[in-house]
């Protein structure tokens, strides 16, 4: 049982950094400042239903756009020669080498009312358009930042699809469309579900992107939680309650997603 001894540090790590904080969130959500049990904060979360709806809605849109953009891209990538594949993967990963905040700042200057995009449009006599501080800008920020998290799982599932299976489908009468629909898509489902998870979860809880690109008017759950802990409306109990509700929502959505993935591939 030496192996068990080796896993001890990880166990400790998991308890200290995952289990304990989770328990603390639950504890804070159900107690008052004096440590008495209360459901007040949980019921208060209901006031923010519209923010929840907006967060879920924007995260869903961003996830769908990521999927639609990443799917054909990943497929093309997976069918390229090995050498081209590694070069292309590097290009996909390139933006991730830069800090998340810097990348988002870059979009602020691009999208601003006097930003580069509006200036360029102005030269051909269009605009200026209101680009920044819109829901669209928030979604754009999400897509831009999380697209690689969709491409990677899709790509890694797709490279494993054997060329001979595609040939077998052609042999049995499938044109490209049928092959995609009957063989490639079903075989790439595990990648689709894990890609969706990896984009949807961070997108629904983001707060930097919405603050920087959405202005004050497009508050998301992440911003709301942050405000309870660091902002002027300091209230860690409410923050914990909102976090808990968010976690439950994510859990429910992921469980539903798992129903669509093959038996031997479970996400959580």
């Amino acid at each position: 049982m030496k192996l068990k001894a080796f896993s001890a540090p990880y166990l400790v790590w998991m308890i200290v950094f995952i289990v304990v904080p989770l328990l603390m969130v639950v504890y804070f959500a159900f107690t008052t400042d004096n440590g008495e049990f209360t459901l007040e904060y949980i019921s208060d979360v209901g006031q923010y239903a519209n923010i929840f709806m907006r967060s879920i809605w924007l995260a869903i849109i961003a996830t769908i756009i990521c999927l639609v953009v990443a799917y054909p891209l990943s497929y093309m990538l997976s069918r390229m020669s090995k050498h081209t594949q590694s070069t292309m993967l590097m290009i996909v990963m390139l933006p991730m080498w830069m800090n998340f905040l810097l990348r988002t700042y870059a979009w602020m200057t691009l999208l601003g009312n006097n930003g580069i995009i509006n200036q360029l449009l102005g030269m051909i006599g269009l605009g200026p358009f209101k680009l920044i501080n819109t829901e669209g800008a928030v979604v754009l920020g999400m897509v831009y930042n999380y697209l690689p998290f969709m491409i990677l799982p899709l790509y890694s599932v797709m490279v494993k699809i054997d060329k001979s299976v595609i040939e077998a489908a052609n042999d049995l009468g499938c044109n490209s469309f049928h092959t995609m629909f009957r063989v490639i898509f079903p075989l790439s489902l595990p990648g689709v579900t894990s890609g969706i998870t990896m984009v949807f979860v961070p997108a629904i809880s983001t707060f930097i992107i919405s603050r920087m690109l959405g202005g004050g008017s497009n508050l998301l759950i992440g911003d709301l939680i942050e405000m309870q802990f660091l902002g002027n409306s300091y209230n860690p109990h409410l923050g914990a309650a909102i976090s808990m509700v968010l976690m439950v929502i994510i859990l429910v959505i992921m469980t539903v997603m798992n129903q669509f993935s093959p038996d031997d591939q479970v996400l959580i």
């Binding site: 299976v165 052609n170 042999d171 049995l172 499938c174 079903p186 075989l187």
Partner: protein, 348 residues
């Protein structure tokens, strides 16, 4: 009978410049069972891929039913393939794998049930319908691959070593079954194997390949009895192959002696391969024989003994029902028509 598939001067080169097929021309007749036979790497799979449409020849033409079909994608060809490495759909169970082609063609559900059922029975996989193909043995997967292609009843079925993973008994059963189906449904089978016995028992026509070239095309008896060159003779059945030369018509010289034979038309003193089947060598008393040797080993093979006889300049393999002990000095005789003279193949 007319030709269903014709290959004309097919050449295949891969990027690295290797010539894998060197000018292959071949006619396959409708409803015929044709077997490609040859050693590993000789280009059998490559030739099938040309017919199936998965590979475009570097040069040359492919005809199907008289029409040139170069460039036609696989799904438009009335051809199905049993792939050498099965290539089953991992996300579908046994039943759905077999039903795949029928579903693509939008065959009515009732007929799908019936035809898939027939196939399951044929390949002996009843009760496995719901099983995931990832949890099948190699032999079972191979049978699913056969059923999946055969269920579509294509005009031409390409089978790339379809019985390779089966045990001997099942293989024999499947050989008989496949032959029966081919004849009953009047399909054209293009069959690849490197098992010469399988080729001899199943085929109407055998195409012997080596090194990207066709060595001989003929019926099993032709190929066995009249091999065109030493390679074919050696590959089909067992043979004694000796260097010789032809001083004149109907006379051949090997191991320093002259023998009467029936072949003619060689240039004077042309060097040739002399091929003699082990069962055509008769054992006679040593003092009456032109060829003599000492028995080196004897193995009992059921019907006959296989003996290796050391004749100093050549070791002879003999199949005989007569037993001779190791160390015995024996004489060997061959009838003139059992001495096969073959032109030397130029090695590239």
């Amino acid at each position: 009978m007319e030709n269903i598939v014709s290959l004309k001067n097919i050449v295949v080169e891969f990027e690295d410049g290797d010539r894998i097929l060197k000018d292959i021309s071949l006619d396959i007749k409708d409803k015929e069972f044709v077997t490609f036979l040859g050693p590993s790497g000789c280009g059998k799979t490559t030739t099938l891929r040309i017919i199936g449409g998965f590979l475009e020849p570097t040069s040359g033409d492919v005809f199907f039913d008289g029409k040139r079909i170069n460039g036609m994608p696989p799904h438009k060809r009335n051809v199905n393939t049993v792939f050498q490495r099965y290539a089953l759909f991992p996300h579908l169970n046994v039943y759905e794998n077999i039903a795949f082609g029928l579903r693509v063609q939008k065959v009515p559900e009732k007929e799908i049930v019936r035809r898939v059922g027939e196939m399951l029975e044929l390949v002996n996989l009843m009760g496995y319908e719901k099983r995931s193909v990832n949890r099948l043995s190699g032999g079972q997967q191979q049978r699913v691959a056969i059923a999946r292609a055969l269920v579509n009843r294509p005009k031409v079925l390409l089978l790339d070593e379809p019985l390779g993973a089966l045990d001997l008994k099942l293989r024999k059963e499947m050989q008989t079954e496949l032959r029966k189906i081919q004849q009953a449904l009047e399909l054209t089978f293009v069959y690849v194997t490197h098992d010469q016995e399988e080729a001899l028992t199943m085929s109407d026509t055998i195409v012997v390949m080596n090194n990207g070239n066709i060595q001989q095309i003929g019926s099993p008896t032709d190929i066995y009895n009249e091999p065109e060159n030493a390679f074919v003779a050696d590959f089909i059945g067992e043979s004694n192959i000796i260097n010789g030369c032809m001083p004149e018509d109907c006379v051949v010289e090997f191991t320093g002696r002259r023998f009467e034979c029936v072949d003619k038309g060689f240039s004077p003193n042309e060097t040739v391969d002399v091929v003699i089947r082990p069962e055509d060598i008769k054992i006679i008393p040593a003092d009456q024989a032109k060829l003599t040797g000492i028995v080196e080993s004897v193995v009992f093979k059921g019907v006959h003994y296989e003996m290796i006889v050391d004749g100093v300049d050549h070791k002879w393999m003999i199949h005989s029902t007569k037993f001779e002990p190791v160390g015995a000095m024996i004489g060997m005789a061959v009838d003139p028509y059992d001495i096969h003279i073959m032109k030397k193949v130029e090695e590239e």
